[in-house]
Amino acid sequence: MEWETVIGLEIHAQLATKSKIFSAAATAYGAEPNTQACAIDLGMPGVLPVLNQEAVRMAAMLGLAIGANIARRSIFARKNYFYPDLPKGYQISQYELPVVEKGELLIDLDDGSSRIIGVTRAHLEEDAGKSLHEDFHGQSGIDLNRAGTPLLEIVSEPDLRSAKEAVAYMKKLHQMVVYLGICDGNMQEGSFRCDANVSVRPKGQSQFGTRAEIKNLNSFRFVERAIEFEIERQIDLIESGGKVVQETRLYDPDKGETRPMRSKEEANDYRYFPDPDLLPLALDEAFIETVRASLPELPDVKKQRFITQYGLSAYDAEVLTAGRPLSDYYEAVVALLGGEPKLCANWVMGDFSAFLNRDSKEIAASPVNPEQLAALLRRIQDRTISGKIAKDVFEAMWMGAGDPDAIIEQRGLRQITDSSAIEKVIDEVIAANPDQLAQYRAGKDKLFAFFVGQVMKASKGKANPQQVNDVLVEKLKG
């Protein structure tokens, strides 16, 4: 039988607010346990939550960016369950009336096509703390630093049909929240994590199969592998006469498999009800319009602009607009250089990105700023150095050797453009390689490159490549 997979993702994006969603405690990652938890986060008696308006603004930004409805009135509810790292015995979340409803996200697939994926809703909620099971001699430690950290839970429609689509959706959403500046996107620190609802059904059947929910997937790779494993598990199960049960499963990245965590029967009854400590969240047109006006240019729009404004290929535009820091950097270099967008694109995507990757550096921490890179490209443009020599200069700049001009002067890298000097070198090279000359003249054209190489070597790479070419062609003819 042919099977169809149905996937829906619930993604938790940690909002990049300075303070928690219902208290003034800091949200910074990595502090000593329980140093960023105030009386409110600890669920002390008599304390009350006050909503962080910045979290609301960020939720509205995402809503507007995905073309969703921003609820003029939404409700915070309590999700009741006992757990040691849940201080109040309930999580404040949104249940019946979320702040964002009915958006959509365009995803690009490997075959070049694209699909629209529905976003059912996005709601605000607080994170829980962390239970630590090591180093406590058979007891558990509780760290409540994370308790009360603002989360936006973004729920997709069951529109995704493969693990690859799920990953494409997740990547697109990741790009979006980072672009909007509402989430740092750091998946290792748990700032962007995913639960996947997966089911299979015979192709052509309209009814959904029974789904399993895979919890807490914190990398794109795990999402893909976990879903692929789960699809196969469900199909095998059904084909061998079994039945999929509705349950929550965990993915074990070491074994590459999902395992049951709890079944539907064991599932909590969360006893949701509106939180009486918080008023309904009311948003007016003025607020929504202010947020709309503050939205940055979104990735898809920017990509199109790069293609038309800079004449870049779709591929280059895609790469350069993947993240805001990179596209900002690129546009700064183009502006400073005053043109040559393709040259700038090659350098930003090429050496610049390669060095960032090599040193695992963020763009903000790059040792070469757009002014410096533009200054270097200007020297290629005015033929002071060749593109090849520029690579060496760039590396020196990266290592902190200073401005390109200083490096070019100090190291004597200025390009040789004096034709008599170039001719002299070429004459010497031809004289020193009579055999190759003979072969070339006998028709072995490939040796042309050999001569270019020898000339460049003799000139320590400084001879202007175009001039070398032109003169060589003439001289080799004899």
Binding site: P45, P49, P276
Partner: protein
């Protein structure tokens, strides 16, 4: 000095007749002598009270005293007090010391009031007789065999016995007004949102409201002026200016329209209590008020709705008492579930457990619509009843409680009968309205309270209507013989 009202004490302090330290010593001595009988205080803070009194006297010398500077008061043990145990009447919090003050406490501290101690109460404010306290029942100063009412029974008894001239209370379904009535004092539950709930341990968040209790409406006005007002730490607190409640007390009653809900004078109301209330109403007519019969047709739905909403919210509010971070923890838990179940079974008393169970049930999947949602719809009907009534009348009057104080132990095994003692007070909380109880006479030894209900933010009106009555009556000046 102990027989004076806050207004009189304030005048005495201002004119230098006595110092706050002298005054504070008088009340501390009275507490020391009488509290073993009454059990009105859980914690007495004699040392810090004297220090506060001395600071108040110095402040007065600097010319910076306000009307409450140097006035001794007590706080219901539901208000968190920085550095002083806040038990909420429960074993769960027997050793709990908050590192912060409730807004109400903070504001009275700022006004220069002197805290004598923390008063006894029904456990987590769940009760109408003060018998559910982990610290034992409070006795009614008018008759030591009688209950003082609840849940703010400690505050009411302490004021009636002249152990403090004023105190704070909280009212979720009548917990200020019913004990005020049963102890013969005055207490006002303000409009929901008028007084901050920050630092006030939650029972049912959508109903809880703190307020003052004292001998007179005038004293309540002085206290309410100090504690009311916006607090950014409580999202449900209303940002509306606070009038000087004491300034408007003498507003004449001529032309005032008082509504008498027929549902509050029917079956269930004790005849002797009814007679006292009718006399009080007659007094109001003499003062120039007009009375009209009105109807609050959904009154009979108030108790069932309350006993869904309040337990539902409490089941969630009390989930934080899990033995993990603070509060009672059982010995040697064998695993997490054992830690939770035993800590909570040991730490909470029977009535609290009953309400947690009821509330958990009411919120459960499959029952939510039938109970919680239905109860919320009833709240709307009840609010609409009041809204229509206030189109016709300025205030509503009736009995605070259907009977006078009952005997200790009389209703303790019959929760439903116990719940009915709040039958006239509960609807007010469901609607979020302000309401006041003032002493209106006696049935034998036991006081009767008259309840006045006002429109939203009509505290000023309620206090003046009560004050005018207290100008021509002396029920509020009667002292229980054993404490005279």
């Amino acid at each position: 000095m102990y027989e004076k009202t806050i207004a009189q004490l304030s005048a005495g302090l201002a004119s230098g007749q006595f110092s706050s330290e002298e005054l504070t010593r008088v009340f501390l001595e009275r507490i020391e002598r009488s509290n073993p009988q009454l059990n009105a205080f859980i914690t007495v803070t004699a040392e810090s009270a004297l220090a506060q009194a001395q600071a108040a006297d110095q402040r007065r010398q600097r010319g910076e005293a306000g009307p409450l500077t140097g006035i001794p008061i007590a706080h219901k043990d539901i208000f968190c007090t920085n550095g002083v145990r806040t038990s909420c009447g429960s074993q769960m919090l027997d050793r709990f010391i908050a590192p912060y003050d409730a807004t109400v406490v903070e504001r009275l501290n700022t006004a220069g009031a002197v805290m004598l101690g923390k008063t006894n109460m029904d456990e987590f404010a769940m009760g109408s007789s003060n018998e559910t306290s982990y610290y034992g029942p409070v006795r009614n100063p008018w008759d030591l065999n009688a209950v003082p009412g609840g849940s703010s029974g400690g505050s009411a008894a302490a004021i009636a016995a002249r152990l403090t001239p004023g105190a704070t209370g909280t009212d979720t379904g009548g917990s200020i007004r019913q004990p005020a009535a049963l102890c013969g004092i005055t207490g006002i539950k303000p409009t929901y949102g008028r007084v901050s709930r920050w630092g006030m341990i939650a029972y049912a968040s959508s109903l809880d409201q703190g307020g003052p209790m004292a001998r007179t409406a005038e004293d309540c006005a002085l206290l309410l002026t100090a504690i009311a007002g916006f607090d950014p730490r409580d999202s449900t607190c209303v940002d509306q200016p606070v009038p000087d409640y004491a300034a408007a007390l003498n507003r004449p009653l001529a032309g005032l329209k008082i509504g008498l809900p027929k549902e509050y004078f029917g079956t269930g109301l004790d005849n002797t209590v009814a007679a006292v209330i009718e006399t009080a109403v007659t007094e109001y007519r003499k003062l120039g008020a007009e009375t009209v019969e009105i109807s609050l047709p959904n009154s009979q739905l108030a108790i069932p709705a309350y006993y869904v909403v309040a337990p539902a919210e409490c089941s969630s509010n009390l989930a934080r008492f899990d033995g993990v971070r603070y509060g009672h923890r059982c010995d040697n838990p064998k695993d997490l579930l054992d830690l939770y179940t035993r800590s909570r079974a040991e730490g909470f008393g029977a009535e609290v457990q009953r309400r947690i169970l009821v509330g958990t049930f009411a919120l459960s999947a499959g029952y939510y619509d039938a109970y919680y949602l239905k109860a919320q719809q009833i709240r709307r009907l009840i609010s609409d009843d009041f809204r229509r009534a206030f189109d016709q009348v300025d205030v509503i009057a009736g009995p605070t409680s259907p009977t006078v104080a009952f005997n200790l132990g009389e209703k303790v095994d019959d929760p439903i009968t116990m719940y009915l003692s709040d039958i006239y007070t509960i609807a007010v909380n469901l609607a979020g309205l302000p309401s006041l109880s003032l002493p209106a006479g006696f049935v034998g030894q036991r006081p009767v309270g008259l309840q006045l209900i006002g429109n939203y933010f009509a505290e000023e009106r309620l206090l003046s209507v009560a004050h005018r009555y207290q100008q021509v009556t002396d029920w509020h000046n009667r002292v229980p013989a054993a404490f005279a």
